[in-house]
Symmetry: C2
């Protein structure tokens, strides 16, 4: 039910309200969620739903996604199927897909079977693709035939909707308005309409602003402008997000064999941007695709392989240390300083690495020479190394009163910070060059370098200068 | 010059082209940037500009921002002031602010003094605020008086434009269209218009779609819907981005004392989302606000304090190790295993931490109990700890043939992984509770915990079980 068509006041409370409630602060959503949980715990699901119903559907969905699964299912039994699809329709794709992942396939297919197939499809499109396919298979409605659910995930095809307006070159403004009107609530987020040539190839776009201002007798081509970007069904979602961001586009037309078959709307494009940023941030920490409240087995499957790989690299570090066992035996206090040089290198390397990974992702390094960035980070490592080297030397003197140790620590620190800077910049740049996503493995490679070289420099210099130390 | 008003064909090539060029892949932008650099190196700036001029202004700006400063300035001398503002106008705010930061205040004020004050203001609004103020002070035009340049950065006031449409309740569709028409190219990105009541308070919004479909004799109130969200000038930019994302809004009205004074457009809202995501990702690595190609002194100012704080925490770890000097002296090979337990804990803790920080930022933890997340991460730590503990014990047996050492390592690993999980989840959750941004200091706190407890557990158990080891 859309704002434009309030319709009759619902007779039972399980129906969605006619008008969208206003936005509220996140803290208030949190407080209401607590209250809803209390009501459900007291067995009063009806009162809980009554409280939820006064909220914007995006807030209803957020609370439903955060409740324990049994509470969510209890509330869904009170809500009408129309209300469930209304909630999904008004949620952003990222949050809707999170809610959809918490509902059982039975619940979802039961709900979607009872609503307008068009609404069911829109709701399905907001779910993770594999789940949407599973739900669609359970439906009595023939929604399973929709092309939209057959697209590769992470491509334009999976992001697009097939509800858009495209007219022939000889159409007029009246035709455009009629076609737009026919889309009903699906027109709400549209910002562009398209003009096709005789072969059906999209040749121009009409902004909603220009349509709003166009005289009734104007022709579609008279108010059309050239298309800035067109994507095909298999264009990666990441590239769609880049086009949206870089060229300030609010909508992307999708073609298949020169025919316009869909458009990607602003909420889907924003969803990709947010998911891509999330993936990148989690990727650097090696937890890509995980959810803080997802199934535990998925978390183990994501994290354990990386923890195991990392174990191999820490044993590389351990092997490095064991090369210097005799030196350590001569001066056991050296062991205490092992984490200092390697740890600082790790932090410095990660700082550089994160900066470069993000700059690559934002396309900021175009036209910039890798050499320039390497030199920049090398010099920064040198400057940081001088400061940290002096500091660590001073602490060694104060704490241990050992000038030789101070000298060894200072130089090892200086060397490792330079390595951290150049490796921290070099590894992601190299990965980009060979076509690997720099977020994927850069962190583990960089910290392995800073660990191994940290120990090698510190213990190597100590061994060489052992007469100064003992 | 906008698409809607192509105007006369420019007589000299320094003027912007009448139509926007289509989008091209990032790799192609990179290749053109290389070619442009070659041409400039050969002294042929005119040819370089001729090549650039065929691109979309967003690509022109991206290349200009990536070139060495002298090359950028050389190109700016060929481009007309109109062309420079045309480039800035079509760039997204994040990239425009990056380009603006590379241009000198003299260049910018020279350029902006020669264009329409309205265009100059739009260009200024895309620069970092402090820089925009400095440039505005140098201008002969009275742009310095604009309220827009006096707002706090990182608030709605600094993001908004004062070019919007708001009509009185008795206005009709014709009035709306006239007001929209009068905005000229500033109307391009608008998606909503507003209706004010007699006191000037905004009471409803009209979507561009509804305006496009409205009959000429309709009244504004008849096609208006209630406002979902209204922000005030001092609402934080981060909250604006949340409202945009969570409620699927494309435009936010900004009020001051109940009067509508501006709107935030989709490109500014996306810019905030991208900048906020960047800040968060860089914050976890302690390089917030830095740029891979920014001034070196800014990098040092950001990184060195964190490196220094981190040095303090590594010395805490060093002090922990030094407590066990006598144990290490008895069995020097223990030193080689120091990085293993602590390092794995650090990785595990960072995985959990990053996940929780991101979930908090996306508002995903609403209605979820901290206890549930802590227990979840504790159990994951236990499972990972069992696997890694067994693995590390096996390696110790194979490598050193020391069953006692294997036992010590295994239990220390198990303990530290549980600590990593609970601390990794607990620290950001606690920071949120006390109102600190969890991205800010969580990483350093968590790795300090995993380092100190890693060494304490490993060496403590070794000391207690020393008879099994030697």
């Amino acid at each position: 039910m859309s704002r434009q068509e309030p319709g009759p006041e619902p007779t039972i409370e399980s129906q969605p309200p006619a008008e969208l409630a206003p936005a509220i602060p996140l803290e208030e959503v949190g407080r209401i969620a607590e209250r809803v949980k209390e009501l459900i715990a007291a067995g009063d699901e009806a009162a809980a739903w009554q409280r939820l119903r006064q909220l914007h559907p995006a807030d209803v969905g957020l609370i439903l996604a955060g409740l324990p699964r049994t509470s969510t299912e209890a509330l869904l039994e009170i809500m009408s199927p129309q209300t469930v699809t209304w909630v999904l329709h008004h949620m952003n794709p990222v949050e809707a897909s999170r809610l959809g992942a918490r509902l059982s396939i039975q619940t979802l297919s039961f709900v979607l079977d009872q609503v307008n197939p068009r609404h069911a499809l829109t709701a399905l499109q907001k779910l993770p693709l594999r789940r949407a396919q599973q739900v669609a298979e359970q439906l009595d409605q023939p929604i399973v035939e929709s092309e939209l659910l057959r697209q590769d995930p992470n491509t334009a095809g999976a992001l697009m909707t097939d509800r858009f307006v495209a007219v022939d070159a000889d159409a007029g403004v009246a035709d455009l308005r009629r076609a737009l009107e026919a889309l009903e609530e699906d027109r709400d987020l549209l910002t562009y309409l398209y003009v096709r040539n005789a072969e059906g190839i999209p040749e121009g776009q009409i902004s909603m602003v220009d349509l709003a201002l166009a005289p009734a007798d104007a022709s579609a081509t008279a108010i059309a402008a050239p298309l800035t970007a067109v994507v095909s069904v298999d264009t990666p979602a990441q590239e769609c997000a880049r086009l949206r961001r870089h060229y300030n586009l609010t909508q992307l037309p999708v073609i298949e064999g020169n025919q316009l078959i869909g458009v990607i709307l602003p909420d889907a494009l924003l969803g990709v941007t947010v998911e891509e940023d999330t993936r990148q941030m989690l990727q650097v920490a090696n937890v890509p695709g995980e959810r803080a409240d997802g199934p535990m087995v998925a978390s183990i499957r994501t994290r354990l392989p990386w923890l195991t790989i990392n174990l191999a690299t820490t044993f590389l570090a351990a092997a490095t240390i064991s090369l210097f066992e005799s030196t350590l035996a001569q001066l056991v206090v050296l062991a205490a300083f092992l984490p200092v040089v390697a740890g600082q290198g790790g932090i410095g390397g990660t700082q550089t690495l994160t900066l470069i990974v993000r700059a690559i992702a934002l396309g900021e390094l175009v036209g910039m020479q890798a050499k320039r960035l390497l030199v920049r980070e090398g010099i920064l490592g040198l400057i940081h190394g001088i400061w940290l080297g002096l500091l660590v030397a001073a602490i060694a003197v104060i704490w241990q009163g050992n000038y030789g140790l101070a000298l060894v620590l200072g130089f090892a620190m200086l060397g490792n910070m330079i390595i951290a800077g150049t490796v921290g910049a070099g590894v992601p740049l190299l990965m980009r060059r060979v076509g690997i996503d720099p977020a994927v493995a850069s962190a583990v490679v960089v910290t392995t370098f800073t660990d191994v070289f940290g120990f090698l420099l510190f213990l190597g210099i100590a061994q060489a200068a052992i007469s100064l130390l003992v």
